[in-house]
Symmetry: D3
Subunit: 274 residues, 6 copies
């Protein structure tokens, strides 16, 4: 069960309201790199978590924290919109500054939300829940979470660079810090579970006889004119300790030329296809 | 530039066509765990890759392989639809088997595609390109790719379990194998770049002064009644070697109680808010 | 800031797991009538609430309750999936019951989530946040909330009718009850603010001179052959006490015949249009 | 059956074409507060209307009016685009005004529609029909309709404030007026059906034994530190006349701690979860 | 301006209600091949039509007809849902027929719409307005319309084959007929405008100097092992009479190898990329 | 199977990087008129192609070419973003030019992709695969392809007009040329298959007895006050040679007045409807 307390997890101060930055900040709320996504992703993973219950707890606790991140970011968006123009008075309409502000902001911050945050990204595209990655496989889920936090910290760092408002920089430095921790905590679960050698390949419960292992450890060079890039992936022991990396270049296709033949009568094709 | 040759990358054989399994296979084409996603994700990452060009090549070569996976899976869907009913002849209409087949398949495989594959998932929801994760940050991208391949191999393993058609099992065992390699090759890039300690936190180029480091290494327990789950994340050196994991429980909020005060006149609020 | 406690807001018991009902229940999680929607709608309204802060508190408290509804519904979905088939063993593959179960359930409950809840509706379509209605106008928002709860209680009542599992009926009777309260609490805000006469038309702050009031109180009959349906809307005082309802039938258009004339050169039209 | 006559329902005059305002107007066509939505919502509600046929007629007549609103708004968008630049001639390319216009308008008004209206909102996001709320329950539907018209009038009022073009203000004052009527006519249906006491809770046909009525009339305070906001919702008779409002604070969870236990073999989980 | 009359454009009779066929019919309402799409496509094309106004009239008249098609199809869906089960009474719950019906129908026809049509396709995916193709170029638009009607008639023919209900077959035979006409009328516009030779390439107003005409008339064979398929496209005069078709096989790329070099500092990349 | 070679199909040169034009170019990558769409449309049509295999080859070869178009356009977007500002240094923050650039570009080109292409349109809306039109009917598919190429060439022509960068004009003149060929090649398939008279109506395999032919050749004038526009569609032989075009004006509806009567008990309606 969820509960709420009245103060924000972190202080939000906007020294100079900036409606364009309000639009940018929306990426951290409703973008695929944003907080709705991680809150919901961890929440759904927690609800589907099977095995040791401590992982469910870990997920639910951080889901709860992410909900608090949405909350303070939402407040930051509203504070950045304080100065936005809402009416074209005669004098304002002449003012090029007003037009510049309008051109740089999301018009729906005026038209739809009345100067407050929306669950959309910086292009105004609503977040959709297909981005909640929750597979029921803890290895896949931890990778998805580390990915989300990496994307989130890249975004927070870019937002930090895109503003010179000290209050906003302060708030973003907190987000950057929490994303540091969250990246690590999800990768730490993999270490806790025996590390990459134990966890790979995901799912590690797939019986070996379900896998055509002769195809499991070569890098396939599909280029007609480029040599295989050399690296950790092209030779040496595989990361799961089960094989040896090799390379295949200009490999012959292993399959047939596909052909479906004639269409069935009554299948809605043209006569010439039947 | 892309080229094509006429044979499939891997052989596709369907011993007993099964329209319901055609629907299930769609998840591997147009699902978020599917092949359109990885093909396009690696392709866009390659086009945005900055730094050593060998990573761009690596990405483009595997993008190209994934296009070939879409191709053989698409053929597999069509072959599974060979037996599907397309018309309610008088006798067929009486046949409970026909109704059972129709109930289990995607009706759009008849109505929309004429017995062939579509770029949709197993619920018939079209793939949308917001799932192409490509940040321009190679660390975030490699994690996104390992995630995609982990999800992909989980899916391929589940599909393997959901069929008893030997041809389909053979094809899926190939997919399982390639997903093994692809998981590893993206994680191997991280090793090549110095491993987790060097790559974390992503982005590793964010200046330390942009980060409120006092918040970077504690796990936040937001539960009112559960102890912090103990593990690799709750104590010991952080994975980036820059800090020490700790835990904070029942932490006080650091921010203010938010209040926006009155609404502006002409902002479309109710009078009582202004 | 949000917090969590370990127990569910309401008990969840499934006497006979039913994977088809798991699919149906998804509508109450990820449907437009579902709990993600109300949780997020109240949350965003709270963050954008201007005027008396008690309405913000009201919204945030109920947003928090709705998060708890997602949580117990998610558990209910997982419990209903306990019996679902995950592999076509030889014997199972022959079993018509297994096929019937598979035909009635969402295949992604096996393929994508590993037998747990997803943020999708009963057709497997992911929830998208465009359904978070939050205008910054408290009158419009309260109507949107009463609407959401009306839709929610219609859905919960239909789900109640669609199951004969006593545990599920018990859980749904709780949801039906809470939706009763929530419908009323949002309408009670309108009463608190002076009732319909004071609140209508929304927004009640629009200056009268912005409105062509001669068009504000007639019902327009656009039918060529049907008389105007008589009722509260066709005569008598308007609900805002500012006018008198009347009716207009077979009204003449008030505007011009639209014509855009020629296309501009270089605008990408055909020559014949320019 | 539908018919059309050649003149617009209301006159459209644009004194000074403004491509940025064309973008803003799109919200009234393809936004969730817009005319496509209400036209389609009333149309689908009419087609599903059961009970007294006069409500079906009411819905269909107003659906038809809303189609006419799309039509004159579409013309208004095109007229606002008359002055838009379609080609970067040498002189124009130097002109900062041209760049300012381009920056403020939707580029797809040039690139995709050739200077005319599109079924998208002011961010260019296409309208999607999931926003057609039509439940088959007339109480829920009337609330949804009043909500849509409240949102619509909030939007029209904001657009009125965002322009100083007399022709556009004239057209918007008509829209504001019609939204006044439409808000009232849908609420008048509720009065016609006996008013809130008779209609609440929606659906009013749910048998009382399907409802855990002990949970139907209390406001749940889920905050850890805020008192319950006092108001019409916290004490007094409930709006349906069936109960008495009360308040519950810091309530104990009524449910169990959820746990799913081990994952099934062959379910695609990690070994450690099984 | 739009008007409505009370009777359907065509009679709708359902001899044996079939909830599964109600689901299938949804494709003709809310599918990309369906009636909402064509109604809205012709409507928006009409509103953006420049040049001779008779084409605007043609478009608006047929848009209006398509609205009437939505209406009778919506009624057909509702009539097919008459027999659907809405409650699991004890006896019904035992009945395998009830379960078969539920398995084959769209559960949202019960849960969300209360036994009536929705603006979704046969998978329950809502129609989205991005499918309204309206370019402002009459050549492109006429092709888009012929495409839509071709897809529509393929669908109607398949639906005809999927039912053995005489009433439904009668209604579909009307739709098939109207789609015949509509295909032809849009292609007839191209003939009216001078035929393909005059209209191609679309847009025919693009100055020849904007086109690298040396690349305008060869078919590019991108296969490594297949000969160019011979046909009307590989030799002979081009359809616009401006060139001669030829073929290029195994053509050398004309461009450079792309490389973006180093990432900028402060751009959120990994250090190794900068 | 697909292959790749390292050079671009066509050279990409950007003389003056322009982040606003990068945003515009996105329409040609991820718009409905763009290259992802045609690549995937031809690919899926190829995989579902039944009848003479040469059409499958034709489709797959051009699908492959379109993948190469995505590639060079993606490079063009990245080159146009070279000059984009990524950080608000003190001096830059004062610079009105920086703000103008930011206002005109897609902020996600900085925040999400790190200065490279994304699979989105010029409004930042991601491409979704519902736009892959592939019916299994070669007539419908060829029309869909000609439509896509007509829309594509309209777009490329408009982009050509929207830039004055010689490098970009050169690249676009190549795209314009290839779209010329592709329009023609798909229409040439129709000629190869016997031309319009043979191919219409699509599907030409629908038995005549499935069609209410008395409704197949009249144009329906649904206007109350406009005469039927005269043209090729209103008289003369139909394009399929099977009929004669006529006109029907002010036609009487052929159907009944629809009414659904009472709602079922337990269907979630209001009491008053039952």
């Amino acid at each position: 069960m969820f509960h709420h307390s009245s103060k924000l997890q972190y202080r939000v101060r906007v020294d100079t309201p900036n409606p364009a930055f309000a639009k940018h900040l929306q990426q951290a709320i409703g973008g695929i790199e944003g907080e709705i996504r991680v809150a919901m992703q961890y929440f759904f993973q927690a609800m589907g978590c099977r095995g040791d219950d401590k992982y469910r707890d870990l997920l639910m606790m951080t889901a709860t924290e992410e909900l608090s991140h949405i909350e303070f970011l939402g407040h930051a968006v509203a504070l950045n919109l304080e100065g936005a123009p809402v009416s074209m008075q005669d004098e304002a309409a002449q003012d090029p500054v007003v037009h510049a502000i309008l051109g740089g902001m999301n018009p729906r911050h005026i038209l739809s939300s009345g100067l407050s945050a929306m669950p959309v990204n910086s292009n105004g595209v609503p977040f959709d829940m297909s981005h909640v990655y929750a597979t029921g496989n803890i290895g896949a889920d931890m990778l998805a979470n580390a990915t989300a936090e990496a994307g989130g910290r890249v975004l927070a760092s870019r937002l930090y660079n895109m503003t010179d408002d000290p209050g906003m920089k302060d708030m973003l430095s907190f987000l950057i810090a929490r994303d540091t921790m969250h990246q690590q905590q999800w990768l730490a679960v993999i270490e806790e579970l025996g590390g990459w050698e134990a966890q790979l390949p995901v799912p590690n419960s797939t019986p070996q006889e379900h896998e055509a292992v002769e195809h499991s450890y070569y890098f396939l060079n599909t280029s007609l004119d480029e040599p295989t890039p050399e690296g950790r992936w092209s030779s040496g022991a595989s990361l799961d300790g089960r094989g040896e990396f090799t390379v295949r270049e200009k490999v012959e296709p292993l399959g047939q030329k596909p052909s479906l033949g004639k269409a069935k009568p009554m299948s809605g094709a043209q006569k010439e296809q039947i």
